[in-house]
């Protein structure tokens, strides 16, 4: 029993991280039909931004202040990834609209270069980020079940991001423009929405969220230049499984993959678990080829 609760909690924790990573992907893919393979490297950038913030706090401020660095690190990693994303959109991705497969290859190239850049700046070995002391320990639910505060914090952080995204997409003017462009680009342009600006902002926000994900990942263990590649394929599977266009699809995909992955890996072995999850995804796609949520459209192709 206690084991199951722990496993479920682990599944929840994995799902929430996947969700955070896949959110940005789902939106850029749904909006611009661009596959951003450099998303994993934006996560890596966010993680290194946290690492740098930590180092600055360590050297410039007294020890008693150190634990507060993490509060600052979250907006910093968002901002850094946001700027990098904006730069990426204006210099490269803008030229690749309507060619999803080409965008995949080009952003993969960008990702490789960014990885190598991180390797030259910070060195190839993984670096550790000291977690703030107020996240040490855990919440004891019952005998033998301890939920670490770090993982709880990540789940809470994801929930906050999700609510913020929801408010942005469904309750703000900018979000309304974004949905309009997503549903019918030409019509939105005719109504005076600057689709270029919407594209750029959305892409940058998606990148910024990846930065936050990177910041959260520093709590889970050491970080390295290829941090993002561990998560990127799973995050894309979330998009494939959940479909694009609605937040709830991504939510479904993330929890579907995160939970089944954890449970299968617990029941079998780590390698067999991955195979079973893949088979489940393919089986699910037999039933719903466009993912859980499909955008209804009358256009062909």
């Amino acid at each position: 029993m206690t084991v199951y609760i722990t496993q479920l909690f682990n599944g929840l924790s994995v799902s929430s991280i996947l969700l955070l990573i896949a959110l940005g992907l789902a939106i850029t893919f749904g909006l611009m039909n661009v596959i951003n393979m450099a998303h994993g490297e934006l996560i890596m950038i966010g993680a290194y931004a946290t690492y740098v913030t930590q180092n600055i706090f360590k050297s410039a401020l007294p020890d008693s202040m150190f634990s507060t660095y993490f509060i600052l690190a979250i907006p910093v990693s968002f901002a850094v990834a946001f700027v990098v994303g904006l730069l990426l959109e204006t210099t490269l991705i803008r030229h690749l609209y309507g060619r999803p497969l080409d965008s995949l290859l080009a952003t993969w190239g960008v990702g490789l270069a960014l990885q190598q850049l991180a390797r030259s700046i910070f060195g190839a070995p993984n670096v550790g980020v000291t977690s703030p002391t107020w996240l040490d320990g855990g919440l004891t639910v019952m005998e033998g079940v301890v939920l670490p505060y770090k993982r709880l914090f990540i789940i809470g952080l994801v929930a906050v991001c999700l609510v913020a995204m929801y408010l942005y997409i469904y309750r703000s003017h900018a979000g309304r423009n974004m949905r309009a462009v997503m549903q019918n680009r030409d019509m939105a342009a005719c109504l005076g929405i600057s689709t270029r600006r919407v594209d750029a902002t959305t892409f940058a926000i998606g990148s910024g969220i990846a930065g936050i994900a990177g910041c959260a990942l520093t709590l889970m263990g050491p970080i390295g230049p290829s941090l993002g590649t561990y998560y990127i394929v799973d995050a894309f599977m979330v998009v494939v499984l959940g479909g694009v266009g609605k937040l709830v699809g991504t939510l479904f995909g993330a929890f579907g993959i995160g939970m089944t992955n954890t449970l299968f890996e617990y029941w079998t072995t780590a390698s067999l678990g991955k195979v079973l999850v893949f088979i489940c995804i393919v089986a699910f796609l037999q039933w719903r080829p466009k993912g859980f949520i499909a955008m209804r459209t009358r256009s062909l192709d």
Binding site: L105, A106, G111, M237, V282
Partner: protein
């Protein structure tokens, strides 16, 4: 009216191919053993590139999973070579992992013929199966690409995880003989080089024949407008599946030839990065032309071995930059650059035959 197949341009092309083949077969005369071994490796890669071009350049389906097919072929051959080297005993890594008897699925690989057939059929059938569960449901484009990438991840984790049966991270290595000949002997190596070159030429001719045939025309039609093809009455899924299976089988063949020259197969050779590197060869050489794919594979790998030997850190930068440059500025690769030059020449001389761009609009 049937057009005359023997135009001057065509004859010159054929002469060019014949000269290139002759140069390939004569390579042992002018290359050192080390260089010959490298070239043999690159020729094996060129066979993968042919298969990838068939599915990507001609059918418009991007697969990032060809590393798996390549690796399956490689493992099939490696199992044979390992058993041959162990001489009736169990392979060493199985003993280390505590297995007491040879697993049943290893048994048939004692025969070279079986291993060779398996190295082509297993990847082909896996590709056929993956195509069956995706193309039939019209899962295509980016969705399919991501699924193939997930296939790579599970294949590598499975190979690493089942250490007792696959050799784990170290892979399968330590070969000594193939069909009774010592594999490290220069004469055998030369023979293996010729075999690889011959397979490349055969694969090239088969692919050229396929894309020139009616089948190839349908493939290109699917690439340019899948729904139109469906409305005319073809079943695109059938063609996509066939093309993907052929492509996977070619990758398997390449994997078998590859490990004969390298002497090792390990999960890192079929990971995500090698798989996408294969796509880069085709992108650089020129998707949609067979000769472009072959040249792309050989030149890229030659460049890689030169650059990474001198500046080990620079290679990833170069590769990243190549991806961006090729996709943004040279969508049809180097071969496309040449045909663009000829079309400019044609335009200058007044024979303008610009193809319809974006026929779906």
């Amino acid at each position: 009216m049937k057009s005359n197949p023997w135009t001057a341009a065509r004859i010159w092309t054929l002469i060019g191919y014949a000269a290139a083949s002759a140069a390939l077969f004569a390579a042992p005369l002018y290359l050192s053993d080390f260089r010959l071994n490298l070239l043999a490796k690159f020729l094996a890669f060129a066979i993968v590139a042919l298969g990838l071009d068939l599915i990507w350049g001609y059918t418009g389906i991007l697969s990032l999973g060809h590393g798996v097919f390549f690796g399956l072929g490689g493992y099939a051959m490696a199992m044979y070579l390992k058993l041959e080297a162990s001489g009736g005993r169990m392979p060493d890594f199985m003993e280390w992992s505590g297995l007491t008897a040879l697993p049943a699925f290893w048994k048939p690989f004692e025969s070279l013929g079986f291993a060779f057939a398996a190295g082509i059929l297993i990847p082909g059938l896996l590709a056929l199966f993956l195509g069956y569960v995706t193309f039939r449901n019209r899962i295509r484009g980016v969705y399919f690409t991501i699924l193939t990438q997930a296939l790579v991840i599970i294949a590598t984790t499975l190979l690493i995880g089942q250490q007792a049966y696959t050799g784990g991270t170290n892979g399968v290595t330590g070969y000594s003989k193939i069909a009774g000949y010592s594999i490290s002997n220069p004469d055998t190596k030369q023979m293996l080089y010729w075999i690889t070159a011959a397979f490349l030429i055969v694969a090239f001719i088969v692919c050229r024949f396929l894309v020139a045939s009616r089948f190839g025309k349908v493939l290109r039609a699917i690439r340019d407008g899948e729904n139109r093809v469906r409305f005319i009455g073809y079943n695109p899924a059938l063609y996509q599946m066939t093309a993907f299976a052929i492509s996977g089988a070619l990758a398997g063949l390449a994997g078998m030839l590859f490990i004969l020259h390298v002497g090792i197969i390990s999960p890192s050779m079929l990971g995500i990065v090698p798989s996408i590197e294969m796509v880069l060869w085709v992108a650089i050489g020129g998707r949609g032309t067979m000769i472009g794919a072959v040249l792309g594979a050989v030149l890229m790998n030659w460049g890689k071995s030169e650059i990474s030997a001198q500046y080990p850190d620079a290679w990833l930068f170069v590769m990243g930059a190549l991806f961006v440059v090729v996709v943004v500025f040279l969508p049809n690769g180097v071969a496309g650059l040449f045909s663009r030059l000829t079309s400019i020449k044609r335009r200058v001389t007044g024979h303008d035959q610009e193809a319809v761009r974006n026929p779906a609009v």
